[in-house]
Symmetry: C2
Subunit: 343 residues, 2 copies
DNA sequence: GTTAGCACTCTTAGTGTTAGAGTGCTAAAA
DNA sequence: TTTTAGCACTCTAACACTAAGAGTGCTAAC
């Protein structure tokens, strides 16, 4: 299985040509690419070997060769020469992100859009994992005779609010009591530690007003859980429709998969760190066949971190895209740390 | 231009057959549909007349006829017999919506998804117009040495929050002063009345701490403006890709148009009330050609109202879809009123 | 191990043909 | 005057056929 140097060169050339054109690559064209260092017959022999080793396949007898997933894997893991970002594109990215909001969630959303734009793929991000962050502040604010606003702030700077309805009229003392109880119980606690059981305990502790507060407590638990789970943001789906490799059916099934946020979240959070490339055909999901996912992680000082990645056709310019994605992750990490540090 | 009764029947039959099959309709098939009340030759003559009047067109000489936009217009405005909702589908809709959240924004979002599911089209809604609603509560809550959470509640029960960064460290007295000032100035005021000028006046009134509060004031104005403008929610875009009338290019350009939320918002809010059907080819937007938009409005007791509609192929089952949409609008109005009334 | 040459295969584009669907027209019938 | 039957005509879709071109695999020579 050891591939000789020439074979590797041929394989690289085929992959790069295929990435560019999307067409099968023939021996004649390869002679040019390799600067006539070998004849077409030699190249054909090597190609035949590469095909039996599973790196190449033929759409039909008299067509050129197409790299298989195995070939892409090899290319991405060792053959590929990363294309360093030009000063100009660094600048462009910097520009796109520096205008972003000071709200961390918005920053990530805007970064996601920018990434989609820069790479021409769909971009997917998760908001920072909040499992390890804690509750910084809780407020229950009256907003009507029977409604209140529930506000939750986490140590990583995320803000979540929702309207909560009570079953009966509420008054200020009730809310004050609720407020104090919630704050006393949960302030500084990690989000992951808030359990329904604990909250039910509070219901008892609140005594006669406990029952009246039940809807708020339920809403509070939901709010905490909602805050704790990383949210998945998807941008630039339309880019996929623009790419010639996606015909309608494939695009539809991919987009349909991407709209199932939980599945997507699992894919993204499944790995611990570093860059990861998942080639569609390697994954068990048939919807991902013909597509490729590149994910990496950004991290906050507070310990939280999140995923950022792109999804596009298998035939993607990895050498240029991967450094871009990494630069995005770095920049987001830096900006978020800045936000947190003097937050 | 007066069309005789038979011609109208023929036209209706053509439209309905075309809606069902998507194929050109021929005279022979029409003989069956009209229960042999006329011969194919007669029908052909009438069809020729309808074609010269601009109601029908031929893809090519030896094909059947396809209804034009003019025909659809006539059909929708007067020919069509609305298909009343069955008890079962009423129930289904009721079911889908009753499980929805008590937060009005979520309710509308979930309704939008349900509508897309029920109609098989893309659904589009706007959150209630907040121009006429007023500020019910404002809170600035400290969340870090230099950050605070800004919270805005409106009379219609909407909740908006955002993180706001200060340029220097903040303390409780500062925030209390800011809070009091904002509340005193804006509580009960309609959202539309909040102007940058007024806020800048406050900056002066706040005296020495005014400058320190500037970021919060800017954020406040942004938050108000953001709350005031109706938000456009889009669901079920994938449904469009599933429909055979949309090939890739048409779908792409439509989805691309739909992603421009401001344009969409303009289209939706352009009319005052009642149901409206916009046939794509009638609109100046080339992206909408071949598509059709049906919009109506839902309303709140508080005076605010919003749009709800669907977007799908021109060849749509209007007779069944329109009553469904109207039922959605009614139900949402009712649910929102319930929420507001004891809110 | 590499190369030139050549027969072979397969795709693609173009052409011709045919069956079928549907029309428009004309002349007769109501 | 309106409706109908009949028929010639047109156009499409499907199929088969052909020729050109691209690319391979194999063999024999270098």
């Amino acid at each position: 299985m050891e591939l000789g140097e020439r074979k590797l060169k041929i394989l690289s050339a085929i992959i790069e040509a295929y990435i560019q054109s999307g067409e099968p690559v023939g021996s004649k064209a390869l002679v040019e690419m390799l600067d006539h260092t070998a004849s077409s017959a030699t190249i054909r022999n090597d190609m035949a070997d590469l095909a039996t080793d599973g790196y190449l396949e033929q759409p039909h007898t008299s067509a050129g060769r197409i790299p298989t997933a195995k070939a892409f894997r090899l290319y991405i893991d060792s053959l590929m020469k990363r294309q360093p970002l030009t000063e100009k594109s660094r600048h462009e990215i910097e520009e796109l992100l520096s205008g972003a909001a000071s709200d961390p969630e918005r920053l990530i959303e805007e970064a996601s859009q920018a990434l989609a734009e820069v790479t021409g793929c769909a971009a997917v991000t998760t908001t920072p994992d909040q499992q390890s962050s804690s509750i910084r502040r809780i407020e229950v604010l009256r907003s009507g005779t029977r409604t209140a606003a529930l506000l939750l702030m986490t140590s990583s700077g995320m803000l979540r609010s929702r309207v909560c309805r009570f079953d009966s009229d509420i008054d200020s003392p009730l809310l004050e009591r609720l407020n104090n109880t919630l704050s006393a119980e949960f302030l500084g606690q990690p989000l992951s530690s808030v359990s329904l059981a604990q909250v039910q305990g509070l219901l008892v502790a609140l005594g006669e007003v406990g029952l009246a507060c039940a809807p708020a407590l339920t809403a509070f638990v939901e709010l905490v859980q909602e805050s704790a789970e990383a949210e998945v943001l998807l941008s630039g789906q339309l880019n996929l429709l623009r790419h010639p490799d996606y015909e309608l059916e494939r695009a539809r099934s991919l987009l349909s998969f991407l709209s199932q946020r939980e599945l997507l979240a699992n894919m993204l959070t499944a790995h611990s760190g570093g860059l990861r490339v998942v080639l569609g055909s390697e994954s068990p999901r048939p919807e991902l066949d013909g597509s490729s996912i590149i994910v990496t992680r950004y991290s906050l000082t507070g310990g939280g971190d999140g995923s950022i990645g792109i999804i596009g056709p298998l035939r993607m310019d990895y050498a240029a895209t991967i450094p871009r994605l990494e630069y995005f992750a770095q920049t987001i990490s830096r900006l978020l740390r800045q936000l947190m540090n003097d937050g």
